[in-house]
Amino acid sequence: MEERLRVNPVACAGHGACAELLPELITLDEWGYPIAADQPVPRGLRREARRAVSNCPALALALARVA
């Protein structure tokens, strides 16, 4: 059961907290909006990923379970 990062582009306001907390998987484009790597979150980064999700002030980041 793998998990992938999903950004809700309507909710996202470009706060950028996610890229600070999970730089291995999230980078910001030139306008401050997140580009999330379209790959499963490695086990070692799952805790950081959950932290990034819970820290998003706009609740725009989610972890989707993909079988």
């Binding site: 999903r6 950004v7 809700n8 582009p9 309507v10 909710a11 996202c12 306001a13 470009g14 484009d29 030139e30 306008w31 401050g32 909006y33 580009i35 989610a62 989707a64």
Partner: protein
């Protein structure tokens, strides 16, 4: 096709042999709107399916796909609607936000009763007693439709009540989730949909949305059967469709054609083998430089290539194009393709709902860069910047507006590459500065424009 868990219900037996040949949706001649009596005289009474699953089975056998642009299999939507709890709200989508398309409003004007029949059938399939017809704001058209609905109510034809809802005049107003948003009283802007399936009116009630032309086809399939529907079109893309043509002489027409018809036949292009003289192809209306297929989220094709292609996704998709909602435009040789595309790109940028950063930041910058490329001796960086921004915008919005716009613009850069080379040297092959592709005047000023 139908859900494997349900047994296929018995197919509808046709009421009568269907009309041979085309047109089917539009009357044989003229544009006089058909009133209820004329409609019943031509097609007979509306044939309700009798149970929710039967229409889906017939639509599956017919291979009917949506005529709103996405070509989604109608049977799958009807099945999902039949199984959805609670019963979905049913909506006919006549917003037609694409400025180059006029087939939906033409259909609603000339054959409203076919659309309204289809809406009733969809409501039956969704087990719903109310339905909505969402139509772009046009006083005469709304008056006409209100009259048609009243006519049917007086005759007791309709099982479901139909409400007429005006759609804002925005490009994205007809996007499925924007329509749903509008029906809940919010602005008609697209919503983020992480899970595929029927869109939902918050909280919880699903919606069955079908383009008005799709509903009209359903109305005929219910009367004449799937086999009749398949008499036109191709094996994999059966049936007929309404196309909006923009001909090189400046004429615009809406015509009903079988899927798979050659673009050369459609546009009156001479089918000449590609020669060293470039891409210009003669036609009945004048020489043609390039053909736009699929509207402003579609793609350009060189005229010589287009002359060899059919209006069918099987042939168009491998080339990055698609049938879309049937908009086909033949760019006259005297026009500059880059300038035309730049005008449309600016319009598309301003039609962004302004919700998603990559879209409302990317599309305006792309449009500005394209405007530079459409002018003399553009900045060296314009092309590279455009490519970078296109990569950042596509696929990162809630809806397909950035993706479709980028596809359209990239196809222009491919097809008009020679033109771009001319512009770099300060020249242009265009001789006619008049705009060709249609665009509405004005642009959004406030959120109220989306309501």
């Amino acid at each position: 096709m139908t859900d494997s868990l349900t047994l296929p219900p018995p197919a509808l037996a046709p009421a009568a042999p269907g009309p041979a040949g085309l047109p089917r949706l539009l009357p044989a001649a003229g544009t006089v709107p058909a009133d209820l009596r004329a409609h019943l005289a031509r097609h007979g009474p509306l044939r309700y399916a009798g149970s929710p699953g039967r229409l889906a089975a017939e639509a599956a056998a017919a291979g009917l796909t949506g005529r709103g642009g996405a070509a989604f299999p109608v049977a799958r939507k009807l099945d999902a609607a039949a199984q959805a709890r609670p019963a979905p709200l049913v909506a006919g989508n006549g917003a037609e936000g694409e400025p180059a398309s006029s087939k939906d409003r033409s259909l609603l004007w000339i054959s409203p009763h076919l659309v309204l029949d289809g809406l009733q059938l969809a409501a039956e399939a969704a087990r719903s007693t109310t339905a909505v017809l969402y139509v772009q704001r046009n006083q005469r058209l709304h008056a006409r439709l209100a009259q048609a609905i009243a006519e049917r109510a007086a005759a007791g034809v309709d099982a479901a009540r139909v409400d007429l809802v005006p759609a804002p005049e925005r490009f994205l107003a007809g996007e499925e989730s924007a329509l749903v948003s509008r029906l809940t009283g919010r602005p008609a802007v697209p919503a983020y949909r992480p899970v595929r399936g029927l869109p939902r009116l918050a909280p919880g009630r699903p919606a069955l949305v079908q383009n008005v032309e799709t509903l009209a086809h359903l109305a005929l399939i219910a009367r004449y059967g799937a086999a009749w529907f398949r008499l036109a079109g191709t094996e994999s893309e059966p049936g007929s469709m309404l196309a909006t043509l923009h001909l090189p002489g400046g004429r615009t027409s809406v015509t009903e054609v079988p899927l798979g018809i050659g673009l050369a036949d459609l546009l009156g292009l001479d089918t000449v083998p590609a020669g060293p003289g470039g891409d210009i192809v003669p036609s009945a209306g004048g020489p043609v430089r390039a053909v736009l297929v699929g509207g402003y989220h579609g793609a350009w094709l060189p005229a010589a290539e287009a002359a060899r292609l059919p209006l069918a996704n099987a042939a168009l998709r491998p080339l990055g194009a698609a049938v879309g909602a049937g908009v086909v435009a033949a760019l006259p040789a005297g026009r500059c393709g880059l300038a035309e595309t730049a005008r449309v790109a600016r319009y598309l940028a301003l039609e962004s709902a302004g919700q998603c950063g990559p879209c409302f930041n990317g599309l305006p910058r792309i449009a500005a860069a394209l405007d530079h490329l459409a002018g003399p001796r553009p900045d060296q960086r314009a092309r590279a910047d455009l490519e970078r921004w296109a990569g950042l915008a596509a696929g990162r919005g809630a809806c397909h507006h950035p993706d479709g716009s980028v596809r359209f613009i990239r196809s222009a850069l491919r097809v008009f590459a020679a033109e771009a080379g001319l512009h770099e040297r300060g020249r242009c092959s265009g001789t006619d500065p008049r705009p060709f592709l249609p665009l509405p005047a004005g642009r959004p000023a406030s959120d109220a424009d989306w309501s």
